[in-house]
Amino acid sequence: MAAVSLDHGLILAAILFVIGFVGLLTRRNLIVVLACIEIMLNAAGLAFVVAGARWGRADGQVMFLFVLAMAAAEVAVGLALAIRFRQSLGRLDVDDADEMKG
């Protein structure tokens, strides 16, 4: 059960985080942006759990739980905003939202 080296767990979390970040930078569709944020949050949660596993304490998993709650809340509001976004701007392209420039 415990032969897995924790470093690899952290490396996995890092890779997932990084992939999420790339997605964030390149995709222009709002839904995909939200998804990428989810990936990054998930990677962060993974890191917490790995840390908890390292010390054998539950704090890691408790933190994961909070991350989860926060992610859920974030998605809910995010998607609601997506709907409004779609209504007002017609398209879900993130680059349209640039009134705040200058």
């Binding site: 059960m1 924790l6 998930n42 759990v49 739980l65």
Partner: protein
Amino acid sequence: MTALFYIAAAVAVLATVLVITRSNLVHALLYLVVSLFAVAVVFFTLGAPFVAALEVIVYAGAIMMLFVFAVMLLNVSADSPLRVPTSAWIGPLVLVAVLLAELIYGIGLSDHALRAVEVGPQQVGDALFGPYVLGVELASMLLLAALIGARHIASQPESPAIEDPRLSGEEPDAPADAEGAT
């Protein structure tokens, strides 16, 4: 068990890569679900069964469902795929490569503990309602706020833009594009 960890890790990474590269949105979401399941398996191999379960139930189950519903509601698939010229990928990739290198180097500095200790739901439960009881309350408030917020934002009066072209009987493709183009 370690083999399972590596397999699951590989699946997770692959799935995540596919999420951000698929042009079709629904495929992307589904790959995301796969990735979440893979991560759940990783949790399991790391000796955190409670969290693995949670991952499956809440993350894959609830949050992804929200996404899917949103996709359906927003009728997104009809939009023109918002492709970014491949040249635009180079910048972020370089940045991210540097970031990854730093993270891995940082991780390399840690004390390379080998043994992952099993942490069952019992301990998590004690911790949750022990020192972290305040955290739980706050989380619940957060969720409540998100709930009301999402409901309020999403329920604005219908605005013409969202009318589904097909209902109004015109040619489905032309107006969508025209509409899309504005």
